[in-house]
């Protein structure tokens, strides 16, 4: 009959209207600034630099190899190498970045920098509220703003961070075993030298830099 479809449609919307007051699953809206859905563990937004230990500058894992800079498709990473060296997590002397800038406005969140990094130094963050009212300075994040602790990494990507830690521990153990073997083979003087280097890394690097 004429008008039957209209009545049916009206009943449907009436059901929606009344239902939205009684059943919570009809209203799927999450009122964002007040409520949020927890981000998925695999979420990725923008890279950050991982550091170990309490000091961000000393603990930065990055060795300024510039692979990420070269691989970055939109070319949003800018790295300047240091002239001197500092020991990395296994105690090997490495150069480090004196500048490490990423342009938020250019980054496309592709995670390629993370995949190519051989040192597990750059990882993806889940922080997505990156808007700023300063479109010149604030969009270019420097290494201090990018540096985040390994604990933070564990917090946002627990499984991935555990795997990374395991891998690094293995590498470190292998390096230590190798060093030990080398030390055993070499003279006692050389072994003592290596131990001294490993034991007191902090004040050393600037002094040892020229070498």
């Amino acid at each position: 009959m004429l008008g039957e479809g209209i009545v049916k449609g009206m009943l449907e919307t009436a059901k929606n209207f009344a239902g939205s007051f009684v059943s919570a699953e009809r209203l799927t809206t999450v009122e964002y600034p007040e409520e949020r859905i927890p981000t998925a563990e695999a979420a990725r937004v923008f890279p950050f630099l991982v550091y170990d230990g309490p000091e961000w500058e000393a603990g930065l894992r990055c060795v300024a190899c510039q692979i990420c800079e070269k691989e970055c498709p939109p070319k949003c990473i800018y790295i300047e190498k240091s002239k001197d060296k500092k020991p990395d997590f296994v105690g090997k002397m490495q150069i480090y970045p004196t500048r490490f800038d990423i342009d938020v406005s250019v980054c496309m969140s592709c995670q390629i920098c993370v995949e190519v990094c051989p040192f597990e130094a750059i990882k993806m963050d889940t922080q997505f509220e990156l808007a700023t009212d300063d479109r010149f300075g604030a969009l270019l994040l420097d290494r201090k703003e990018l540096a985040k602790s390994n604990e933070y990494y564990h917090e946002i990507h627990p499984t991935e961070a555990a795997e990374v830690d395991e891998r690094l521990a293995q590498e470190k153990a292998a390096a230590e075993a190798k060093a030990k073997a080398a030390a055993a083979a070499a003279a006692a003087k050389a072994s003592a030298d290596a131990a001294a280097k490993a034991a007191a890394p902090k004040p050393e690097p600037p002094a040892a830099g020229g070498a």
Binding site: L2, G3, F21
Partner: protein, 393 residues
């Protein structure tokens, strides 16, 4: 008795008290001005409320929340909207006819406000108790078409002119069934005065009211009136003149800032006035739905009926898709108009059959039969179902 009648007549008493401070010569004019001020304050206020309720209601129908940011539950949203539209730049296209472009929204709002003058909004609460109130209302309602065409023509924009052409075609087509469907009420009452029409319905059989909508011809007339009124006010599913998805905003594409707000206001005021008229003609105006509910002031009933009609407008907007222009015209000329004509004849039959139950049966059967038959015949050649494409597949 005294208690509820004071509350019922509170606005009349208030007006008389205020006017009493003036010399006798100035009293009629002052009373009229007070009435106009009341109308000009109350209905835009209702408009502001309706915009929030509409957005929230539509949201609920679409399983979302609707505006809830400005003030408690978003109820200050119209204030924010008003400030926004007042502070926005008022752009007039270079090639527009500036004078007509400026006048169009004013003409619309003034014409729509004029309609409220004759509506009885409560016992003794019609601003002007005109003998030909219905005629005046329709004359004013028809002049809104002028302002819409002024807006579309003066803008010098293809979307505006298309929207205006659609609007004029649609409004003139539906003006005829709108008038024809109210003719039955005039036939029943024998008067064009809206106050008399309400008085004629303000009787009760037992506790039930003698509203015209509860008669076969009244029900059919009311249904046709509702359809025509929806088309008159350019509401969904007859919102072709605006047609956001096709014509940007139709006839007010080239309007910005406060002039746009005036068009918006005019549209909603048109909804209020046509709902008020529908309530007056068929739903007993300010009379209570059950006899013992007369203790509630009459103006509350009037506004309750208007707001119910507004809710149904919103409900339809949340449900129905827009018609095509040819469907719209076919519906007006091939279905609504013939049916209103039949309704007029059934009304005459009702009159001649005299009292008794026989006329109820005969009139109901004629109207229902013709409705079903016309629906069947007109839908026979239509193929409902998934749309098929000749070339796209």
């Amino acid at each position: 008795m005294g208690n509820w009648s004071t509350l019922d007549q509170i606005f009349v008493i208030l007006r008389n008290w205020l006017v009493g401070f003036l010399p006798a010569a100035a009293r009629p004019a002052a009373g009229a001005v007070l009435g106009v001020i009341a109308i000009v304050c109350v209905f835009p206020g209702l408009f502001a409320l309706t915009t929030v309720f509409e957005r929230k209601g539509l949201g609920r129908m679409q399983n979302r929340l609707g505006p809830n940011r400005v003030g408690p539950f978003g109820f200050f949203q119209p204030i924010a909207d008003g400030i926004k539209s007042l502070t926005k730049e008022d752009i007039v296209p270079r090639d527009a006819d500036a004078v007509v472009h400026f006048l169009a929204p004013l003409v619309l709002v003034v014409a729509v406000f004029m309609g409220f003058a004759v509506l009885p909004m409560g016992r003794n609460m019609a601003l002007v108790d005109m003998d030909a109130g219905l005629l005046f209302f329709f004359a004013m309602g028809a002049s809104t078409e002028l302002s819409i065409f002024m807006a579309g023509w003066s803008s010098r924009n293809k979307y505006s002119i298309l929207g205006a052409m659609r609007a004029v075609g649609q409004m003139i087509s539906y003006e005829v069934p709108l008038l024809m469907s109210s003719v039955v009420v005039v036939m029943a009452t024998g008067s064009l005065s809206l106050t008399r029409i309400v008085e004629a319905q303000n009787h009760y059989t037992g506790i039930f009211p003698n509203w015209y909508v509860f008669t076969p011809w009244g029900f059919a007339g009311f249904a046709m009136f509702a359809i025509a009124a929806t088309a008159e006010t350019n509401r969904t599913p007859f919102d072709l003149p605006e047609g956001e998805s096709e014509l940007v905003a139709g006839y007010f594409t080239e309007y910005s800032g406060f002039k746009f707000a005036l068009f918006f206001l005019g549209e909603y005021l048109g909804m209020f006035s046509i709902s008020g008229l529908g309530a007056t003609l068929f739903l007993g105006g300010w009379s209570a739905p059950l006899s013992f509910l007369n203790v509630v002031p009459s103006w509350i009933w009037f506004f309750a009926k208007v707001m119910t009609a507004i809710f149904i407008f919103i409900w339809m907007r949340g449900t129905l898709p827009r018609l095509r222009q040819d469907q719209l015209m076919n519906f007006a000329w091939k279905f609504v108009l013939p049916f209103t004509l039949l309704d007029v004849m059934v009304m005459a039959l009702w009159r001649f059959m005299g009292l008794g139950w026989a006329r109820w049966v005969v009139c109901s059967v004629i109207l229902a039969g013709v409705y079903v038959l016309m629906g069947r015949v007109q839908m026979r050649r239509k193929h409902f179902g998934p749309r098929s494409y000749r070339y796209a597949e």
